[in-house]
Amino acid sequence: MTQPMTGAQMVVQALKDQGVDVVFGYPGGAVLPIYDEIFQQNDIRHILVRHEQAAVHAAEGYARSTGKVGCALVTSGPGATNAVTGLTDALMDSIPIVVLSGQVPTFMIGNDAFQEADTVGITRPCTKHNWLVKDTAALPGILHEAFHVARSGRPGPVLVDIPKDVQFASAIYTPREAARTDRYNPRVKGDIEQIRRLARAMTEARRPIIYSGGGVINSGPRASQLLRELARETGFPLTSTLMGLGAYPASGDAWLGMLGMHGTYEANLAMHGCDLMINIGARFDDRITGRVQDFSPQSVKAHIDIDPSSINKVIHVEIPIIGDVANVLEDLLAVWRAEEGSRTQREAVKGWWAQIEEWREVRCLDYDTSPRVIKPQHAVARLEALTKGHDRYICTEVGQHQMWAAQYLGFEDPNRWMTSGGLGTMGYGQPAAMGVQVAHPDALVINVAGEASWLMNMQEMGTMVQYRLPVKQFILNNERLGMVRQWQELLHGERYSQSWSEALPDFVKLAEAFGAKGIKCSDPADLDDAIREMIDHDGPVIFDCLVEKHENCFPMIPSGEPHNKMLLANAETQGQITAPGAVLV
C-alpha cells in the first residue's frame, strides 16, 4: 500500500484490517466522505440506526455477545453528543467499542461552525481515551491504536474525532502491523508471590466464597473455563455480580445466585459471613457492598483485577493481584495444585455448605402467584422455562424487570447476558439486543424490558424491521416506573411523584405500525401460549405483558445497610431506610 489514500478510504481500510464486519451508524454532513466509501464496498456492513445513542448501545451489544470490538460511526455535533450516553455506559461496564465521529474541517474548529461541538472535550471523561485527528498521515496509526486501547487491559470505549478535511486529504496508509501499540500495554500477568499467598489462603479457609464479576467475561472464554475448574476442584461456593452472570453456569453445584442489593439471601449472607473472599474480576461496586464499614467483617479478601485503580478503591484487600483473570487463574490453579497439593479444609467447607443450605431454605426468590394477574416474576420464570433450550441471548433495560431477569433467568455460558450494570441506562436493552441479533442472526434474542425504559429507544423498532432482526421485546408492563415507585414506597412515604406511565401507546398497534408483530397478554392462563407464539414468530415482536402493578423487587438490601440486613418478600417496607441511607442512591 504505497499509493496514497484519502482519509475516508483509510477509515474503511483500517476497519477491515481490524476485523470489523459491521458498523452501526448514522450519516451527516461531517462524515459524508466516509459514507461515500462505505457505499463503494461490501466487506463492512452498515446498520442504519434511528438515533446515535442506539448506534453505540448496539455496538456494545455486538461487543458483549461476541467478545470482539464493537464499532459505531456518527456525525459531528449532535451526532457526537447523542453518543455520550453510550460511551459512558461502555466505560462503566468496561465494554470495548470504537466510536468514529465526524468533525467540522480543521480550519473551522473553534468557530462555532454548524454542527460543531468540542467532541474530544465532551467525551474525555467518558472514554478510555480519545483522539482528535488533525493530519491525514496520522489517521491510520491512530485508528489502529484506538482498537488496541479499546480491547487491551481493562476494555473500554474510545472515540476518534475526524475532521472533514482530514477525510478528504490523502496520505500513505499505515498497515496494522506497523502501527504504534507500545505506549499502552497493561500488565496481564499476576504477581506470583501474591498468587502463592492466595493459594495458601485457599488451603486454610473454612468459610470461603468466590465472588466473580464482569472481568471474567471480559477476559474471554478461557477465564470462564478456569473459573469453573476452580469452583469444581475446590468445592467453594460461588456468587456473581450482575455483570458476571454466565461465567459460571446457573445449573452448577457451586452456584449461589447473584449477590448484591437484589441478590439472593444465601449469596449475601455467605459474603457477610465468609472467612476468605476471592474477588475475581469484580470491583466492590456499591450495589454489592452495601455499607462498606460492615462489609464482610471477618474475611481475608483477595482481589484479582487488571485495573490497579480498582484495588483498594472501595474495600481494603489483603491479597491484591493485578492481572488478567485468565492469566491469574491459570497460575493460581497451577500453584495450588503443585505446591499445595490441591488441599482445602474439606470438612469445614462441608459445614459451611450446610450453613449455606440452611440460608437457602429461606427460599428468598419465592413469590405469590395469582390466577387473575400475571406476576412479573412468574412471567420471567415462564420465559426461562420456555426458552431454556434455545440458542438464547438476553438483554434488559434498567429497573425492576432487570433485577427479575437476573434473578429468574439462568445463564449457562458467558456473553449471553447484556445489561447496563454500572451506568444503569434506561433505553439500553433494545438497541443492545439489535447489536446482538446482528452478530448472531439465527439466535433467539430477547430484550426483557419495562414499558418506561423501552419507550426511551423505541424508534429502533424501525431498524429491526428494516434489517429483519427478529428481536423479541418482552415488556413487563406495570404502567409504572417500577423501581422508582418501589423506592418512593420505601423512603418517601408512598408519595409516587411522577412514577407512573400515563398515556401509554397500544403496544400491539405500535408493533403493527412499525411492520412488526404485536402480542398482548394479561391472563396468567394465556401466558405460556403467548410466549410460544412470540418465540415461533420469525420476525421482530413486541410482547406487551401486563403484570401486577405494585409488585416490589425482593430480596433487597436497603441502601446504607450491610448484607445481613436484607428485606425478604412481603417485608414491611416503611422506615427501612435510615437517614444516612436515604442520601445514597
Binding site: V120, G121, R124, P125, K128, H129, L132, V149, R183, Y184, V292, Q293, D307, P308, S309, I311, N312, K313, H316, A579, P580, V583
Partner: protein
C-alpha cells in the same frame, strides 16, 4: 445535613470524605508524572482530579524532551494514604501517561519553586525590603523609583516566609510557578 451526620463542607473535597473522615490523617505528596506532550494531556490529568474530587495544591508542566515529545508534570496533592494511592493508580491508567513517581515516598527529593514579588515602598520600608531580599537570596530583576521586583527561588515554605515579611513592606503583586521537584541522588 445535620441529621445525616455529615460534616459541613466535607463533601466539597471528595466523596471519600463522606466515608470515614477520621480514618487517616491527610498527607501532602509530590508526584512527578511523565506524559506524552500531546494536545489534551493536561486536560486529562486535571479532569481526573476534578472529576474524582481530588485536590491539586500546585501543578507545573513543561516539555522535557523535545525529540521524544515528553513532558514532566509535578503535582502537589493532598489526601489520605488511600486517596493518594488511588490518585497514582488513576494517573497510571491514562493512556499518554508513561510514569508516575511519588517523590514523597520514593526517598529524598528536592523541591523548588520560583516566585516574583513586586514591592512598592517608601523610605525605610524600601531599604528594609532590599535587606530582607538579601538575606533570602532574592535578586532584584526590575526596579523603578516606586517599586522593586524580586525574583526568589526556594522551597514553597521559604517563599511563603518571604511573602509574609514583604507584606507589611508594600507587597503589591506576586506570581509563583508552582513546585518543580526531582528525587535526590
Amino acid at each position: 445535613m445535620a441529621e445525616l451526620n455529615i460534616e459541613k463542607g466535607s463533601s466539597r473535597k471528595s466523596a471519600y470524605d463522606l466515608r470515614d473522615p477520621n480514618a487517616h490523617a491527610v498527607e501532602r505528596h509530590t508526584l512527578a508524572v511523565v506524559v506524552d506532550n500531546e494536545a489534551g494531556v493536561l486536560a486529562r490529568v486535571i479532569g481526573l482530579f476534578s472529576g474524582r474530587g481530588y485536590n491539586i495544591e500546585s501543578l507545573t508542566v513543561a516539555e522535557i524532551d523535545h525529540n521524544g515529545h515528553t513532558s514532566r508534570m509535578t503535582i502537589v496533592t493532598t489526601g489520605t494514604p488511600a486517596i493518594i494511592d488511588q490518585i497514582k493508580a488513576q494517573l497510571g491508567r491514562i493512556v499518554p501517561v508513561h510514569e508516575v513517581h511519588d517523590l514523597t515516598v520514593e526517598g529524598a527529593s528536592v523541591e523548588r519553586e520560583l516566585a516574583l514579588f513586586k514591592v512598592s515602598g517608601k523610605g525605610n520600608d524600601r531599604v528594609e525590603a532590599l535587606r530582607l531580599a538579601d538575606i533570602f537570596r532574592a535578586s532584584v530583576v526590575d526596579s523603578t523609583l516606586h517599586n522593586f521586583t524580586f525574583e526568589i527561588t526556594g522551597s514553597p515554605e521559604k517563599i511563603d516566609a518571604f511573602a509574609e515579611l514583604m507584606r507589611p513592606l508594600g507587597l503589591s503583586e506576586m506570581a509563583r510557578t508552582g513546585v518543580a521537584a526531582l528525587s535526590r541522588g
